[in-house]
Amino acid sequence: MALAGAGAGGVEQPVLLADLLAELGLGQAQATNVALHLLHLHLQQRDDVALLVQLPQQLLRRGARRQRVRVIGGAALHRALLPRRRRRRRRYRHRQPHGAGPDGGGGPELHLHRQVDGLHVLGRAPCRGLGGGRGALRGSGGGGGGGAGAPGPLSLALVDAAQREDGGDPHQTGLSVENRSKSVRSTVAKQTLAVFPDLRNGTPRLMLKRVMQNQPQVSPLAPQISDHEDTQEAHSEVPSKRVSSMGELQLPDVAPEDTSITVFHMKKKRRKLSISEFERAAERRLLQYQAQSTLDSTIMTRSLHMSVGSLLAPDSVEKRGLLRRPKTRKAVDMEEFEGRVEQNMLKSKGQNDLVDSQSASGIRTSILTSDAEMMMNSTELFIQPQLDEKSQSKLSALEPHLSDSKTSAQRSLISDADQEEARLKGLVSSVSKNQGRTQRYSKSSSLDDEHVDRMTRVSPETPAEQGEEKQSHSQQSNPMAQIYFTEEVVCSAEHGASAGYSEDLEKKLAEKGELQITAARDSRGETEMAPSAGEELEEGSIGAHGSPRAEHEITRGIGAESLARHSHAFSSLNKPEMTPLNESEEQGDELQDQALMLNMDSSDSSDAEDEVEHLASQEVSMKTPAFVRAPAHNLLLSTPHVAEPAAPRSPMKLLQPKTVPKKLRASPKKPREPQMPRSLIKEIFRHFAKMPVARDAFQIVEKCSERYFKQLSNDLEAYTHHAGRKTVEAADLEVLMRRQGLVTDKMPLNVLIERFFPLEYRKLLIPVAMSGNKVIPCK
């Protein structure tokens, strides 16, 4: 405070002093504080309380005009001040029992400070003094600070005498109270309102104190102050009235306490309101966010997911906005994955020579590209007859995979697969626990990012598995299958099967499509639609497996979604049916969307790869789900593709019984390795390239990323094996990241997590303690 500078101002010219202070650039409150402080100092030698009181009042009034501060009348002020002397003797008495002289003085002083602050700061941002005074009053230990910071003009004025004295002997005079307050400023912290109830008795001075205390406190939040000004003023009105009315007040101690307490409450309420308002605004912002295209966010989130598989645990639907982004991509992956899984199953089941040849891991890998395409193609409804066998085998291979995964819920297929499974499981379990859908969705999305194919394979399976374990899958799956089939029918331009369901499904699928790259997908022609429908059915069935299981509640929705996804997955397939699906998609549940997303992703990836044949594979894929769900067969029969499915069905059946618990493991890197959806890679690369990229470049990039992830999984497997475990864990990933140079001594893993992950993922990875002794993720 420019006390020194302002010291020049004479006491006799309080107004001028205030102007001087204003010139110095101090705020009104500060100016008043400073002025009062200076006056105080000057008047130390004087016992002119009245003059002191006048000055601050003048300043206050001046400021009050601008700050809407209410200034208690001078009479009340005098009354408040004068009784001080009267009570001097009382203080002696009071003090003796208390034993701590300064304390007694500190108590009333504290009140004074607060009162002063209240008067002073009405409608103003907090001043130093106010804050200090407040703190002191509350025993926060800010007494010293408050005193130093000119807690309040009034207090200063009152304390003039106190300052005059060394503050050593509070018993001195009536003004010794102030004196004590000064000396006690440092000990103000210890002071509490309740220390000396006697002093709170109703005297005008005390009343004034109470009034000032009860004034709306200085609040750091300007708007709040303005809001509460009225209340405060009203508040002050009452006490002031009381003060004025009482010549000698014997108010109960409770009264002032209550008022002070209420004042505190007011403040708290104020803050709560602001928080709720903030939350509302945040939600609004979230909604806006969601409304925006989610592509960018999906890409980012996906990239985030890529390196670290995380379990998503969306807590509430509100966070949907954050979680929804990955949606669009995931669906495609799932579909592709499902298609591939089926194909894999077909293959592994040893349908034909093709199956055998394909089953050969080496061959598979070598043929991966071609197989991948074929696999992708197989997801389509009408696959060329040439590929029938292959697709069938693939589908059969996929089927067992599906069944295997279903049966072995906790199997850790591969390091990646395990991770994915774990994630899926966690996802599913979380789904069942919480709303789940969003979680699942996010999980699936995250999973898809990493290993689309595997994930799609596993995700639908694991959720299916879990679903089975948890609920009556068959029932659900059956209706789901039926729905799928109906969807398929619809896709195949039959649309006749289950009107309502299919329509709903279509709608949901449609939504899904929109979320994803459905536009491209939907462009499929009518002819393609049939195969695509078949694919969809297959994938839908696959997805249905997972989804209905995961979401017992939403069987239909899931089916519809999965179907929709499939339809979308069959990239660039414009299916008129899909359009209605798109529409309905948005209506679907999140979970369904998630499940569908998963399916869609797989299907999308597969579709992306190949848009041509796969008719046969499609049929086979279709069969798989149908076969899985016995009742579904009926629907299949109704479909035109019934004839074709019949053939693959038998192999499917053969495959089913095997179910090979470790089927997925048996085919180590699966006949065809799941691939990342091309669209995902394209989008991410385009986003980071910031310039147009040639198609050939995308292929190279895809190959590189595939290589990268393969190496990644190998490393993870090696690390896991090194630790004598069979399940990849977070520690393995940390070792990997350390090897990669992402995690160093300077950059711990948690920092990376916090830097790149959205809140939900962060919560999953980094245990967060919530209220009620709840820790997320719960362990």
Partner: protein, 134 residues
């Protein structure tokens, strides 16, 4: 104390760097004779610097691997894990480790025989120890 320690470390590091530089120089000389090419001083210096830094990284990774396996001793397993990246290197290391292991086994067996010849009681213990070690 800390400064002295730091100084010591720096001196030690310098000596190690010098040793690495010398070894790299020798190796480069061999390559020169072998391939009839020339190595400039700067390149040798660069290679030695890179080698030194990579050794630091290796050490850190090895320690991390050992800790990952919940061990406190760095073993050949950790080294093999480290050399996974390069197939040929991995093969070579695996080969060498096998040779070492076999030679160790031979030595132990010899010791056992000697000890058994000398003291019959100890052989079982040694054998057990050897077995557990291996």
């Amino acid at each position: 104390m800390a400064a002295a320690g730091g100084e010591e470390r720096r001196l030690l590091a310098q000596r190690l760097k010098a040793a690495v530089h010398y070894s790299v120089g020798c190796l480069c000389q061999e390559v020169e004779e072998d391939k009839a090419v020339q190595f400039s001083k700067q390149s040798i210096a660069a290679i030695s610097e890179i080698t030194f830094r990579q050794c630091e990284i290796f050490a850190r990774d090895l320690e991390m691997f050992a800790r990952h396996a919940k061990r406190t001793t760095v073993t050949t397993e950790d080294v093999k894990l480290l050399a996974r990246r390069s197939n040929s290197l991995l093969k070579y290391i695996t080969q060498k480790s096998e040779e070492l292991a076999s030679s160790n086994m031979e030595q132990k067996e010899k010791k056992k025989k000697k000890s058994s010849a000398a003291k019959g009681e100890r052989t079982p213990g040694e054998q057990e120890a050897a077995v557990t070690e291996n």
